[in-house]
């Protein structure tokens, strides 16, 4: 891990240092002006959250069916990051909504789905922490169900209500905005990779320590 950690860390730090300038120089969106800039923070956070949910669901399914404990550690790390990046999205979304819609919260399809996924993964962390012995399996099932639930929540809430800007906004961005947007996404993804690497390493070491304690006792 040491080999790639430092270079990736350097690139990520550099990207985050440059990002404010890139975002400040990106052209204003014609109707929302300055408010729209939060988009460079908000959307990448969701991109990372969905990536994290996907990783968590897949690795926990591997853990459940193959019993590979390393997969469980990766899934747990991803679940924690899903909650953190989800929280970023949930904080920045209402800030924008207050200006654009005039209210902090709308029971819109995407908002509701994001909130539910956040709740599911907070549930995951709670079970893992307070579930007692064997809680890894419980939380693993929760992650798999959380992932499976995405399309159902999406469809049902979508029929129920929709006011959020469509995801088809992204391909229609102007040239200056396009670059700044993907720059932000890359920076967030790199940050995610870094945090994942740290978190997985931490879990591996904890597991190693637990094994040593167990060996000592027997």
């Amino acid at each position: 891990m040491q080999n790639f950690f430092l270079p990736v860390f350097g690139v990520t730090a550099l990207m985050f240092a440059v990002a404010p300038f890139v975002i400040a120089n990106a052209p204003y969106e014609s109707t929302m002006l300055l408010v729209q800039k939060i988009f460079y923070f908000h959307v990448p956070a969701w991109f990372v959250m969905f990536t994290a949910i996907f990783i968590s669901g897949v690795y926990d399914a591997i853990y459940l069916f193959k019993g590979d404990r390393r997969a469980d550690r990766i899934a747990a790390a991803a679940a924690e990051l899903a909650v953190i990046f989800g929280l970023m999205g949930l904080v920045t979304g209402p800030l924008w909504g207050r200006k654009a819609w005039g209210v902090w919260w709308q029971w819109d399809a995407r908002l509701t789905m994001a909130l539910l996924l956040e709740v599911i993964f907070i549930g995951y962390l709670l079970v893992r922490k307070y579930g007692g012995p064997g809680s890894e399996k419980l939380s693993a099932a929760m992650a798999v169900f959380g992932m499976l639930n995405v399309p159902f929540v999406y469809i049902s809430v979508n029929i129920w209500r929709t006011v959020h800007p469509r995801t088809s906004v992204v391909p229609t961005l102007g040239p200056g905005m396009f670059g700044a947007f993907w720059f932000s996404v890359c920076a967030f993804m790199l940050l995610f990779v870094l945090l994942m690497a740290l978190r997985v390493r931490f879990e591996h070491q904890r597991a190693k320590l637990d094994d040593l304690y167990l060996a000592e006792e027997t």
């Binding site: 459940l64 169900f145 959380g146 159902f152 929540v153």
Partner: protein, 226 residues
Amino acid sequence: MSPIRVALLILKKDFAIEVKSLEIVSTTLFFAVSCLIVFSFAFVKEGAPVQDAAAGILWIAIAFSGTLALGRIFERERYGETLRALLLAPAPRPAIYLGKLFGMVLLMLSTEVVLVPMVALLFQAPLFSRPLLLIVLLLAGTVGFASVGTLFAAMLVRARTREIMLPILLYPVTIPVMIAGVQGTSALLQNTPDEAMATMWISIVTAFDTVFLTFCLWMFEPLMTE
């Protein structure tokens, strides 16, 4: 022995125990009725119920009482230390899950048989204008809720904090069922019932049931190994 036969045997066993004491049925039912009474204070203004409240009240009462019942169905196995014996039985694990699920669905349906007329009566809701669609919607919703619930309840049997964990895990996952149930029921409660809308929600719940039931059957085995 075929899995369905095993499932029916487990259902028969649980039914025989339940008939003797009526513990779960009576407590669940009474809890559901208490929920309705509490809701009536919130959703009845000047003698008349708030518009469209009936569908939500019905489904919340179903979900709450269902959660209570889910907490109990495996509790009995735990007290009697019989869960291990059940798991050791020379029967496929999914059949055990299926047996418990049958019991849970029957239990919830028997509560609904009392709940639906009570909601219709107390909140002046024309719930019986399209009885067949309502029955299908209730059945599909109950199966969806119970399928995920039975799996989670089984998983949580050994967890320390199971009473609080069950609703924490169950409600976010079963939200699609709740949305479909509430929206479908309120479509049926319109002055002219919106059958197309209700049918669409029924098909969404049925799809949910199919996917989640398959996954529950698939996951019960790895989850219940010690």
